[in-house]
């Protein structure tokens, strides 16, 4: 067995190096670094974690341990239109689960998955603080309030080409 190769585009490598450097390559800044990196790449695939690990001199297993601990970090690319359903308590008691089920049915994917065409991904989040509008659905940055299951199709259609 020779050394493990991690392949990455030069541009991306430099970006990650830059980010790590902006945090002085300090291991305690790992989470900040991951935030910035995910902000840039949209997700944190293995090769990116490898580079971050090298730059911060942290075992890559630890980086992975951190990435998988925090629900904000994802190793999968999100869809072009990430759909997030708030499942905070206020939304729950106002029927968020039915809305979620309807999204799953309409998109044919489970939570955490992306549609085959890469258009939509589905996730749940806890309370965006728009409890007055419960149940709340986010598509990208746009917020939909008081969503009912029968309104789901219309929301999806808005984004269909």
């Amino acid at each position: 067995m020779s050394h493990i190769k991690v392949k990455i585009k030069e541009k991306d490598l430099n970006t990650i190096k830059q980010i790590c450097k902006s945090f002085n390559n300090e291991p305690k800044e790992l989470i900040n670094v991951l935030h910035k990196t995910q902000e840039h790449f949209g997700y944190l695939p293995a090769e990116i974690q490898e580079v971050v690990a090298q730059e911060l001199n942290v075992p890559v297993a630890k980086v992975y341990g951190v990435v998988t601990f925090y629900s904000f970090f994802t190793m999968l690319p999100k869809g072009k239109h990430p759909v997030s359903i708030c499942t905070g308590t206020a939304c729950y008691v106002r029927g968020a689960d039915n809305v979620l089920q309807e999204f799953k049915r309409q998109l044919g994917i489970e939570v955490g998955e992306t549609t085959e065409d890469g258009e939509f991904s589905l996730s749940c989040l806890r309370c965006v603080g728009a409890c007055g509008l419960a149940p709340v659905v986010l598509v990208g940055d746009k917020t939909y309030g008081r969503v009912a299951p029968d309104g789901v199709k219309a929301i999806i259609d808005e984004y269909k080409k």
């Binding site: 067995m1 020779s2 050394h3 493990i4 190769k5 991690v6 392949k7 990455i8 585009k9 030069e10 490598l13 293995a46 974690q49 490898e50 580079v51 690990a53 090298q54 942290v58 075992p59 890559v60 297993a61 630890k62 980086v63 992975y64 341990g65 998988t68 601990f69 629900s71």
Partner: protein
């Protein structure tokens, strides 16, 4: 030291401030059950995440139950370790743990030696309610050359993670995921083979369940023994004889060298040899290399690299290949005793008994799991045929002996075969931390000074401290020697060398706590460091009992050089007994 008084189960005791309830209770003879907690006292290795919650006790005035492993006592504390509340809680927690643990105990590699099983017995668990609909965590099983990971059996005690990161600083393992999905493993749940794992096996040595076990080669060995076309040769590492007895109920530290030889013979090995012979050979090569570099250095050669580092420990070799590829010219190029043995067995010895290489099977009995991986390395193969065919651990040997209906205790003591079974005390002490360098010193001193060494015991090189330093006077030339066991300690010495701050001429490094006696293939110590100390004592006793105690005095070694190798570091020796190292660091490449 400030003292505090407390009451545990109605018994009064006075202990030092800062003592935990668990330790205080132990002083009273109360054995509070623990699962995740592990303490190798003399080595400064302690695992107390407070995670399993089995050791909870009731403390008067406290709202909830206290984990005794990590709760410090206070003056006037009143503890109850077996109230109804405690017993109910402990059982319920145990039921939780078992509800997420496979129940295939009968066929589990850890059966009979499993701390979780023992705990279920101790608590008298008879059923796990709700199991019908209880989801269990599922992971794929990871087979590597040395160890097998079955995370379904992981109970998140975190001992392996602690050993891998804090003690070894290898960083191959980390907890990943969260909550019910959490487990311990390499990044991206990749096979451990692709991680920076060195196969030191310390994770296996501390795992309380069957989640981490060695890759079992006993079937391969039995098949070889049963094959009439094969001549099967066995070599046994020095640390094995100091620990094998434990598997047969003997007290730790009981030497069973003769009984082991007898058992091996009865198992059907054609030749029972000793790795110690190869250890002596290692000293000849490594010691000569040390002297060579040293002499050049003393003569002002600026090119020569010092200190020289030992290279007998395969996990250590992997460690610097992974982490210090730029320093691969620092360690000695000498192969480990296991590989030297294999190489000589399949050339010199095979010729001697006129057996073709491919018909000779070399089996090694090792206290180590990294040796399994080492035996498979490509550079130790000739046309695909490995110098060492199978490497099995002390534990696997015990299984083989038991399976053959042999009781080690009642076997007669027998002697190793010649020529590769003859060894000196110097070869024996390879099994304990500091032993290799002590053996090397015995030889190097005499070769360098040309004088006979009067006091052969370099006691200053022995002990359990993580990093030890000693200066040996080579007749006016002070030689600075460093010793580290545990890769975390090794890393410190390496960082010093890298920074040009190292004061040493020679350094011995062993990966495991206490050296090979604490190897990942040894009978489980179940967090009793007294066992390691007893094994260490046995090693030095064995050395003291040997008639010859310096490697260069071994008559068969002398003969080997005369008949076959020429002299140390000769071209032939280089070819058969030395190796080179490979950069295994993780490299980022532009795609």
């Amino acid at each position: 030291m400030e003292k505090v008084k407390l009451t545990i189960d109605n018994k009064q005791i006075e202990v030092e401030k800062g003592t935990t309830i668990y330790k205080a209770a132990k002083q009273l003879g109360i054995d509070i059950p623990v699962l995740c907690y592990m303490n190798l006292e003399d080595l400064g290795i302690e695992n107390k995440p407070g995670g399993c919650r089995i050791c909870v006790v009731e403390v008067e005035g406290r709202k909830n139950l206290a984990p005794s492993c990590s709760t410090e006592v206070w003056d006037g504390m009143v503890v109850n370790t077996h109230s109804m509340r405690v017993i109910n809680a402990r059982r319920t927690v145990m039921e939780f743990i078992l509800s997420d643990h496979p129940k295939d105990c009968l066929t589990c590699a850890k059966s009979g030696n499993c701390e979780l099983q023992d705990m279920a017995v101790k608590l008298g668990i008879r059923e796990v309610p709700g199991q019908e609909y209880a989801e269990m965590s599922e992971y794929k099983i990871d087979f590597s050359p040395s160890l097998i990971r079955d995370l379904d059996k992981c109970i998140m005690c975190r001992r392996c993670e602690m050993m891998c990161n804090e003690f070894q600083t290898v960083g191959a393992l980390s907890a990943f995921n969260r909550g019910f999905e959490a487990a311990v493993g390499p990044a991206f749940e990749m096979d451990i083979e692709y991680s920076p794992c060195t196969y030191c096996g310390q994770c296996v040595a501390v795992c309380p369940t069957g989640a981490l076990t060695e890759k079992d080669h006993t079937r391969d060995v039995i098949n070889a023994l049963a094959d009439p076309t094969k001549t099967v040769v066995v070599q046994t590492a020095p640390a094995v004889r100091a620990a094998l007895g434990e598997e047969f109920g003997l007290e730790a530290g009981t030497r069973v060298t003769g009984e082991m030889v007898a058992a091996l013979r009865r198992l059907g090995f054609d030749y029972v040899f000793d790795t110690d012979f190869a250890a002596d050979l290692t000293i000849m090569e490594e010691g000569t290399e040390l002297l060579d570099r040293l002499t050049k250095h003393l003569n002002g050669d600026k090119e020569v690299k010092l200190p020289i580092l030992t290279s007998c420990c395969p996990a250590w070799v992997s460690f610097f290949e992974h982490n210090f590829p730029e320093m691969m010219d620092v360690p000695s190029s000498a192969r480990s005793p296991q590989q030297m043995f294999g190489s000589i067995a399949k050339t010199y010895f095979a010729d001697k008994i006129e057996v073709k290489r491919e018909d000779l099977v070399v089996v090694s009995i090792m206290p180590c799991l990294a040796k399994k991986y080492e035996a498979q390395r490509d550079e130790f193969k000739v046309d695909g045929n490995p110098d060492v065919d199978f490497s099995i651990s002390t534990r696997e040997l015990a299984h083989l002996i038991k399976e053959a209906n042999l009781d080690l205790k009642t076997l007669p003591k027998e002697e190793f075969d010649t020529p590769l079974g003859e060894s000196t005390g110097a070869g024996v002490i390879f099994g304990a931390t500091g032993g290799v360098i002590e053996a090397a010193t015995r030889t190097a001193y005499e070769l360098h000074t040309g004088k006979k060494l009067e006091d052969i015991d370099f006691k200053q090189l022995r002990g359990l401290e993580g990093i030890r330093k000693a200066t040996v006077d080579f007749e006016g030339t002070p030689i600075n020697i460093g010793i580290a066991h545990g890769l975390g300690n090794a890393r410190k010495l390496l960082e010093d060398i890298k920074a040009g701050k190292s004061e040493f001429h020679a350094i011995e490094i062993m990966s495991c706590p206490g050296g090979c006696i604490g190897g990942g293939g040894q009978p489980l110590h179940h967090s009793d460091s007294g066992i390691l100390k007893a094994r260490m004592k046995a090693i030095y006793e064995e050395d003291a009992d040997k008639p010859i105690r310096k490697s260069h005095d071994n008559p068969y070694i002398i003969k080997l050089y005369e008949e076959f190798l020429g002299k140390p570091m000769s071209e032939k020796a280089h070819h058969l007994l030395h190796t080179c190292y490979f950069d295994k660091s993780r490299k980022v490449e532009i795609s």
